[in-house]
């Protein structure tokens, strides 16, 4: 059995999360060894996941932070 590049792309998510059956995983890994575009595609797919994880939160805009704090103070007076 062989895989096309398109099929490789379709099953990357299962490969990455470890749910691809063993036989398909071996076939995919063989394909990746012999296909530079797919190997690069796989690497950049992985990188997309990695650099998006834990994307830091930006602070609230100053004006909104003041407005929100006032609302909370009004809603919960000491």
């Amino acid at each position: 059995m062989t895989l096309t590049c398109r099929k490789v792309t379709e099953i990357l998510i299962d490969y990455v999360d470890g749910t691809l059956p063993d036989e398909e995983r071996s076939i995919l890994e063989r394909h990746l060894c012999g296909c530079v575009p797919c190997a690069i595609y796989m690497h950049t797919y992985h990188e997309t996941i990695r650099i998006t994880h834990s994307l830091p939160d930006e602070p609230l805009p100053d004006e909104f932070a003041c407005r929100l704090k006032s609302m909370i103070d009004r809603a919960c007076p000491e």
Partner: protein
């Protein structure tokens, strides 16, 4: 006030420690500041008014995720914004016999998320904002917030396979969007 293992959960602490998370999640889902501010305000006021009912701080992040997602979805429904054009389909980039239609170019070596520079972070945020809503919600919850697919399925009223399918499509679109930026940086 609710007593927790590490102290008293006050409105001040909720504001300081949780408002940015709520705001960023809403902004990433909704793609604009004004709606994100409305959602943050609604969620924070709900939380501080119910602080007495919280039994433990551990429950708060989970509850905040759920309430924020619901508020963001409601905000979107209220706006009934359906102005999305056709999205580039990532799986269009293949020939009829299944090969890559164009060059697939590598990216430069990228640092950890926390060490990404401002421009790189902006590119990621821009890519997220450009995702169609159905993919964006799942992507933000799975890959940014790192919630399990089963929890996302429950929040969005989807099946787990549907979450996975949308997540994969979102990652392919994000990869394409980031490629347009990072490939240009190669010498």
């Amino acid at each position: 006030m609710a007593e927790t293992a590490i102290g008293v959960l006050t409105p001040e602490r909720v504001f300081r420690e949780h408002a940015p998370r709520v705001y960023n999640l809403a902004k990433r889902m909704l793609g604009n500041d004004a709606d994100a501010e409305d959602v943050t305000q609604d969620v924070l006021l709900q939380v501080v008014r119910k602080l007495d009912t919280f039994r433990g701080e551990a429950a708060l992040p989970t509850w905040l995720h759920r309430v924020t997602v619901n508020a963001a979805l409601a905000s979107r429904r209220k706006r009934a914004r359906r102005d999305e054009g056709r999205v580039n389909e990532p799986l269009d980039g293949f020939t009829d016999d299944g090969h890559h239609a164009g060059h697939v170019r590598p990216w430069p070596r990228l640092p950890d998320t926390l060490a990404l520079d401002r421009e790189q972070k902006q590119q990621i945020e821009k890519g997220i904002a450009a995702l169609p809503e159905v993919y964006r919600d799942v992507f933000v919850l799975a890959d940014v917030e790192q919630l399990p697919n089963s929890e996302i399925a429950e929040m969005l009223d989807l099946s787990v396979p549907a979450v996975k399918s949308r997540l994969h499509r979102a990652r392919l679109l994000m990869r394409d969007a980031l490629s347009r930026h990072f490939e240009e940086r190669l010498p």
